[in-house]
Symmetry: C2
């Protein structure tokens, strides 16, 4: 019998803990040591904001496992408060220091797993070290923020990505005045701007002051308050600052060991999570993984991929030929702010544009379940695809209910290499409380195919050219209450066929309605009457509160 | 310019109305006549039960479109109260009778669309024509049931499929005593029996008397009440009977026209919804379509497929080479009964067994979102796959929240021809309110791969053989409160590694826990210690109320 495998895991949260747990299932006899620099392992880092806001009442709920629990469940030798100082690759050992007493020792390994994670960015701004400037990575950060929030009245959250938005929401729940500062011109800059607009308006409706296109330049203590100075000259007063502008991989150990790193310091791994040293695996926020759409190297610091990568690493170590590769990451992500939800899977249009990749896109609006069943809420879905093949490249959704479901369907379709044609015929679970006979995902497929087949030419924006006739087909009352900027000819849709003489057939037309559906119908009529016509795909919904009761007139 | 196309559509609900609407978008100049025998077109037939129960307060909400509305929106010539009597295929015309006055006329067509639907089965039982025995297909049926329910106290619902369960729920909402009678030995017989058990217990908890394995033989008026006589000898008293035992296609017209029909009278169509006459299309509940899993001919009388088939038919008539085929149906379906939801996509195990198709299956149990976030509810997911390839064949889910989402993900994976390996790495939208870093869909993939890779051998049932050691690894209190039927050795999981001497290594072991997770862990330990071991996949959850607060001990 071979001597038992010695597995050393550095980092005990998502990727590390998943690797150790899977390794134990695969090898009851292995010696598995899991180190973490901090006092906790396997805690619920995605839950931290929700304890700060009070939604998760018990701190203990976030400590999913303890070292003693992992010993008893998985026979793991968990050592918290232990920092890995250096890797001796030739000797296959790691020098480890106990944080408490500085005691150092070497731990030998047959296989080494690196799951060091990523730390929040803290740029070298004046005043950044003020104790009121917090980042959120672990339970201790959370405890500090909670302690500060006890007396704080004004919070400034810097960075309106996923964590920043969650923190803004949760600090509002605690009753703080919250100012949310974002460098980009939109909140949730991972999404295309129109898809984050509902989120921004919801944040503002709930009392969060949203400032986009603003950069923090310094933190200045002033009496009992901290001034956050912005590049625009504005100064925000804060008792508490949350810095959530991104993360950087913690890969000093890997670099010093000579492992191959990416341009921004991430550990390079193959599809079995092997580093450039075949006895050292790595996974989670610290690695570059493959993008599932185009195979390029990407960093996707998210919990889901980290967990599954850790599992793949264990499989590679212990299952041999039966191990299956990690297929890459899509970057599926979702956030809730109060009543609004938004998320993305795959590539955004801005990312496709920046990469110069050919793409086409469409945005559709519909209700999240049958309109005749009570409680139907509007939602918006944007899909992107490869023009030549119809293959999906990405999707974004926003609304109130059912956003997660549509993102999951699209993430599955992306993983399956499916096309816009496939979306037309997805047979999703339909009963009135759950969906529609033609779900918004089907509608997105229909709209994409209509565009591809030349049945409609969408207009992404209202025309600037005065020669273009803007035709508003909404009911008169709606057209007057929320007029099209720049003016329009209002012919309510039911009257259109009988009123074509009000349009000049020699001049192009852009059709406009509330949601982009009736304008499509109108464009079909005009196109077949010989007009050069485009349909304003987004509709005028941005000018209408989606919470208004009843069905939105078309 | 060609003369305008004359399209005649018979049947104005899902498939017919979709066909007519799509045809109008594709051809503004076509003459489109849509007939329906009844007084309504394009009504929300899936919503009927919910108006009976009062959830949909306004009857008008179900009349999605009126003939006048369809004229104004789509320039359709809608003729309600018109029955098609016969098709003169050679003359390309249909004889139509006005129900009101018996007036007959011939209507010519270039293309004919048949969307006659299916009518509820009414077997020739004694007393079946009693006015208290209702079926539910249209608004008039609904009105009659509503009128009867006003004074009724006792309802008998015959057939516990999707409609029967919805009707049982809605009649309970109205305060009636409801008895639900099902021929099969389980409610929702479309599912495998274990996956419908939660639904049955919820129906009973909410006061519905559920009787399975019972057949109605006669209806007998007795004073003011109707007696429903069952084959078992029981007699149920009813003021109101709902018969929901299935449907049959309404294809007399097609048969008499000599169109090719299937063995049970459905119209045969190709993938463009063309009948055996190339100028006659058909779609919806009356046709045989292709099964998306194996390509066999199936009847799938559901609203989603009907709508999309109608659209494909219009595309075939009007888009020529650009039309794309209907890819077949999965039979995705879902039902809610009070707090519980259950559904299916693709094939069930019983259907695979009946067809003699090789398959493998696994059932996993998990919470619908992160367990540490408040409100996590248990759910159960069963998947079936082809052993050779890992290709998915079907899935069933039941629980309280998020069942529809997982069915939609699996329906998408089925449509994409994806495998159990693909499920492992679906990157679903994760934030604590929405899911888990390892979603139950991922867990199902893991479990399937573990089974395929020989890491675990599931036991579908508890062993009958006394030589087999049943090992219950739940905590002592739980093992005592809900003992394993037939007895078991209780070694709580944390003590297992130190207590292996309590098991006889020469005798096989079946491990048992609450949800099937800890029993898998235990089986891994025993297998690697040389035991012949299987894990009881279902767990003991059937003996524990899933509504008990907090996390279920493993």
């Amino acid at each position: 019998m071979n001597p038992p495998l010695r597995l050393l895991v550095i980092g005990g949260v998502a990727a590390g803990a998943s690797c150790a747990a899977r390794a134990r299932r695969l090898d009851e006899h292995a010696s598995i040591i899991m180190l973490d620099r901090g006092p906790d392992v396997s805690f619920a880092n995605c839950g931290l904001p929700y304890h700060i806001g009070g939604e998760i009442a018990e701190r203990g709920a976030l400590a999913v496992q303890t070292p003693a629990g992992l010993k008893s469940l998985l026979n793991l030798d968990v050592r918290t408060g232990c920092e890995a100082l250096r890797i001796d690759r030739a000797g296959k050992r790691v020098e480890v220091r106990q944080v408490a007493d500085g005691h150092c020792e070497w731990i030998s390994y047959d296989k080494l797993m690196l799951a060091p994670g990523a730390s929040p960015l803290r740029p070298a701004l004046p005043g950044i070290d003020d104790a009121r400037v917090h980042t959120l990575r672990n339970l201790q950060d959370m405890d500090r923020i909670l302690a500060a929030a006890g007396t704080a009245r004004r919070a400034v959250v810097i960075g309106a990505g996923f964590i920043g938005i969650e923190m803004a929401e949760q600090l509002r729940h605690r009753g703080l005045a919250v100012q949310l500062v974002e460098l980009q011109e939109q909140v949730l800059p991972q999404l295309d701007a129109p898809m984050s607009a509902l989120l921004a308006s919801e944040l503002q409706r709930q009392g969060v002051t949203v400032m986009t296109g603003e950069r923090v330049t310094a933190f200045e203590p002033a009496d009992a308050v901290l001034h956050c100075r912005l590049a625009s000259g504005r100064v925000l007063e804060a008792d508490l600052v949350i810095l959530s502008i991104g993360v950087q991989p913690e890969t000093t150990l890997a670099r010093e060991a000579g492992l191959a790193l990416g341009p921004r310091g991430h550990i390079l791994v193959d599809e079995f999570m092997r580093t450039s040293d075949p006895d050292i695996h790595a996974a989670g926020d610290a690695v570059l993984t493959r993008d599932r759409i185009d195979g390029s190297a990407v960093s996707v610091p998210l919990g889901g991929p980290a967990n599954r990568q850790g599992r793949v690493a264990a499989d590679c170590m212990l299952l041999g030929d039966r191990a299956r590769p990690y297929p890459g990451s899509l970057g599926t992500a979702i956030v809730r702010a109060f009543d609004v939800v938004a998320g993305i899977t795959g590539w955004s249009e801005k990312r496709l544009l920046a990469a110069g990749k050919a793409h086409d896109s469409i945005t559709v609006n519909a209700e999240h379940h049958a309109g005749y069943y009570p409680g139907a809420k509007p939602m918006s879905l944007k899909i992107l695809w490869e023009p030549d093949t119809g293959r999906l490249l990405g999707a974004q959704a926003t609304g109130f209910e059912g956003v997660d479901k549509r993102l999951d369907v699209l993430a599955t379709a992306l993983a399956g290499g499916m096309t816009v044609d496939d979306l037309c015929h997805l047979e999703l679970a339909y009963a009135p409380p759950f969906g529609s006979a033609k779900d918004i995902v089907n509608l997105a497929g229909f709209a994409a195919c209509n565009k591809r087949d030349g049945l409609v030419t969408p207009a992404a924006s209202l025309p600037a050219d005065a020669n273009v006739q803007v035709l508003d087909v909404r009911p008169k009352a709606l057209a007057e209450a929320f007029p099209v900027p720049g003016g329009a000819i209002n012919i309510p849709f039911p009257a259109l066929r009988a009123s074509l003489d009000r349009l000049d057939p020699r001049r192009p037309v852009v059709t406009v309605c509330a949601f982009g559906k009736m304008s499509y119908f109108a464009a079909r009529i005009l196109a077949q009457q010989g007009f050069e016509v485009r349909s304003f795909a987004g509709g005028m919904r941005g000018n209408v509160d989606p919470r208004s009761p009843g069905k939105m007139p078309g």
